[in-house]
Symmetry: D2
Subunit: 320 residues, 4 copies
């Protein structure tokens, strides 16, 4: 019998994003993108989409640079957390336990092979809406405020990596992630890899960093309920002078309807809608795309924009 | 430590529906509702939505009556299937193994406390699209044909039961389902209960059969990608003379956008869209609605239609 | 040869609405419904949808009652205005010229047979967006602010009348309106009549006031760009405690997708979307609906809500 | 006093399109684009969208080349038709009367300065739906069949011209069209011009033919009710191997949401949705875009695709 799938990790929890323009970034995320502030501590502001059930899904931290400080996943149980810690320690990638954060209890930190920082935790702080944010329907975390693009919840993130094959081995072993789709380059190396720990078609993707730099961030994505909401968001971004990089259009890979913008500090942010598409098969077979297939562009023919292969945060400093 | 959540059951697989108007029902499901026939055997036609990954999600069987013959769930692994069988046998509800069916391998059958027939299986027949049904994007099971309402995949079903509290105990023990929402009547008894085995907000619901009859079927639901597709489907049903019972509107419970119709033999069918809402929390706390809250009607005020509490299949025969 | 169609009146301009809860009504229209204040004078606040090209489309006036103070149409040219005035004076319904208003030049006032006040004008004040309201695209009157339901423009209004047949004669003669659809009661009298002066399927409708009271107001409607925007607005109304009377659903008559709410003072307000439907035929033949056809309810079967036949503003005072 | 606006021409009626692949073109228009055949005569098939009120809006004619044979507008009345004929004859552009066609009565033909053939008519054949095409709602011309992209009605066409300034003078004098938007090149010449005879923001557009060839066709456009229908159509085109040139995206000019494809013979076809945007002002002031503004691309930043400036039908034959 083949080994059973692992269900130790429940879902992507939050991303800590660095900004060197903290005021402008915060104004963007609250007033244009439509997140809600749920707390502050030190140089960080905690932000959430209206139906994220936890305290926060984005920790925005003022820094001298941009990019991602860490990404966090919530485990399925205390027991599952310990199993994952043991597995990661066996892999020799562990960094150790933290005391937790405003939004969750103790977490275990580790590095991926490309030096991005991860943490996993179980104890969390569920969002307790203050009276002004109480929803009309009690099966929702917070009221639908309809301020800005107003996404429902965090969806996934995309990291750049110098060696996607190494990442593939890492994610499946460390988190028990399943590889739902991937790009195989003519060289045989992976150009990109899409992973999930649950029924979403992916919660993290890695694509190859053509600059050869380690630890960079490509984008974080929030989900909206309908494709039309992305079209409306495009107008909101247009009216507010936000740089729209590409979209709206439909990805061939994973079929999500997408829109990419840069927040004021340059971090790439995506809005996406997956329709009713879920990965329900416990034995889903990885879909592999070739370089030739990728040259066709996105689902309806839009060519992948050049900056998509180059722009990441922090920017790569070219030495003279 | 609390017990860990169970992930043995992966997802709802299919429903076997009985019809005493087999030709009219088949015409409805194929040409108006937009499913595709994938096979026939005996008195049954096997049907599927365009992105169901398995051979079928609806087995339509000619009979002298209507309602549901059985409902099937796919397990996460062969090992998980055996664990569930053991648990169900301990509960004394088992009926035994079958040799399988056109669409899947051996299954284990059992009854719920209201005499509905369930089966669980792992070995399945994944849909292998013939050339005329091959999709343009290879991460999809079948081409998007856009014939009729054209839903993406099976979503959930709703059964009637005389004792919903007994069902609650049964589903959580037998399948490891989690109760995401429920209705508590003023009498203290449960009026309805929504269950899930994965990240969908529910894959089965039970509501109280006010006629006191056992084993009846309320509806089966298919998911469309966008709410707008439900509005379009309403026009398709209108143009084709299909009886629209209620909707489109938004449920307060589970927040799905819905539309209910009767197929020609009288079985109730739903189209729904859940937006980006998923149950990601492994420790989701059941949301409980009171009778008073239910009197407010659906999310935007539509009163629940009277037939919703009465009409089920097979119809209840009143003796003179 | 049949007489040529009249094109003297260009479009519905604005409605003056009375409120006995001026602060609550204003808060509703600005923060929940999503209009923008463009001026104030005396007891009135001037409001506009983001793509109304004139200064205002709603004049909200504090009063001791509710209902409509007047409705205004803009003519196609100064010459056309004079032709209409001459026609109305011949009908003996004229009230005379005004000096104009904050939002337009001199207007000619008259009464319909049910004592509603009309005015027609040509000279207008086009909206000149202040810097904070300048749109990103210069073919739009004001920026798309996406605050509240955020409709694009005024669409139509509905008045109650004791004798709809008399109204039919009046509107076609006074404004040169065309009757696009109507309801003929079994008694032979008209139960409702839908009129247009341009390519919109209607800009004003009259329905029979079953209370026999003259001069009452049924609702005013603003248009949104997509049906999905009406679904979003329903959530906005839900979250803000606005009374939703009926909808969203699709009208059989005129096929508009609709949602009806009451603003805080009790005036009925509609959001609607007509899709791409326009009346382009210069010789459109009136579509007549019978009482029996109306009993089928709206397009997808929703029964017309009882209050729709009763509630108008001002309310009818029943004397003891 | 300024002259009054002219309302002699009611709306765009139909386009006669040439195809050198008649079978493939017809299959595309009926089964993929979703028009309905209403008649045949000689080398022509008459096609219509489901809510076009006339017999046809597209006359597809087998030929040895591609492009447009003629475009037709319907006048507001017999009197208005004669006024337009007189005006056109004064301009010296008349070609004379025809006996009519399957879909309409006598028409008067003339040339624009770029040698495109126009005709105007009043007597028309309204579509009389056969039983299988009768709509459920009697205010609609034909049932909503939802076959293929299934647009509601013809919307506009776009022609190429060597001298857009000359076209501007012609259209305003010949048809009484109003110029709603235009592109002014740095040279001072017009690069494009958008015209309307009614409340639609445009029914015909001309853009400069950079090849210097006369009489070419750029595209014809049909309107769908919702933007989401264009996203669905994109999937339909993808699944059917139709070449998608560009879109879906939102035009900056006129703000329509668009999608461009080539039918099998190479004629460019557009689907568009204008939302609730109408030109209601009888004194609308032309919006002028500069070359610099056009360089920003479409509304949300999509660069105008190169083929949009080159591809027209018939193709330009380059001599060796």
């Amino acid at each position: 019998m083949t080994p059973e799938p692992v269900f130790d990790v429940a879902h992507l929890g939050h991303v800590e994003m660095l900004t060197d323009k903290p005021e402008a970034s915060l104004d963007f995320f609250v007033n244009v993108f439509g997140l809600t502030e749920s707390g502050r501590e030190g140089d960080s502001v905690y932000l959430r989409a209206f139906d994220d059930y936890e305290f926060h899904s984005l920790k925005l931290t003022a820094a001298t640079t941009t990019g991602m400080a860490h990404v966090a996943y919530r485990c399925s149980s205390p027991q599952a957390l310990l199993r994952r810690v043991a597995a990661i320690e066996r892999m020799g990638l562990g960094l150790g336990w933290t005391d937790g954060d405003l939004g969750h209890g103790p977490s275990y930190r580790f590095r991926d092979p490309d030096d991005h920082i991860f943490e996993i935790y179980f104890e969390t702080k569920k969002y307790d809406a203050p009276p002004s944010e109480r929803p009309a329907l009690k099966n929702q975390a917070q009221r639908t405020h309809r301020r800005g693009a107003c996404p429902r919840r965090i969806d996934h993130l995309n990291l750049l990596a110098t060696d996607v094959n190494a990442i593939r081995d890492f994610m499946t072993s460390a988190l028990g992630s399943r590889v739902t789709e991937q790009i195989k380059l003519n060289s045989g190396a992976l150009g990109g890899c899409w992973f999930t720990v649950n029924n979403k078609s992916y919660d993290i993707a890695y694509t190859r960093d053509s600059t050869g730099t380690k630890g960079r961030f490509h984008h974080v994505t929030y989900a909206v309920d309908q494709r039309e909401h992305i079209l409306e968001a495009a107008d909101i971004f247009l009216e507010n002078g936000v740089f729209i990089e590409t979209g709206p259009h439909k990805h061939a890979i994973q079929q999500t309807f997408f829109l990419y913008v840069y927040e004021p500090a340059g971090n790439r942010i995506e809005l996406a809608n997956a329709g009713a598409r879920l990965i329900l098969a416990p034995d889903w077979e990885t879909v592999t795309w070739t370089e030739d297939e990728r040259k066709k562009g996105q689902a309806w023919g839009l060519k992948t924009i050049e900056s998509f292969h180059i722009h990441g945060t922090p920017p790569v400093v070219t030495k003279p």
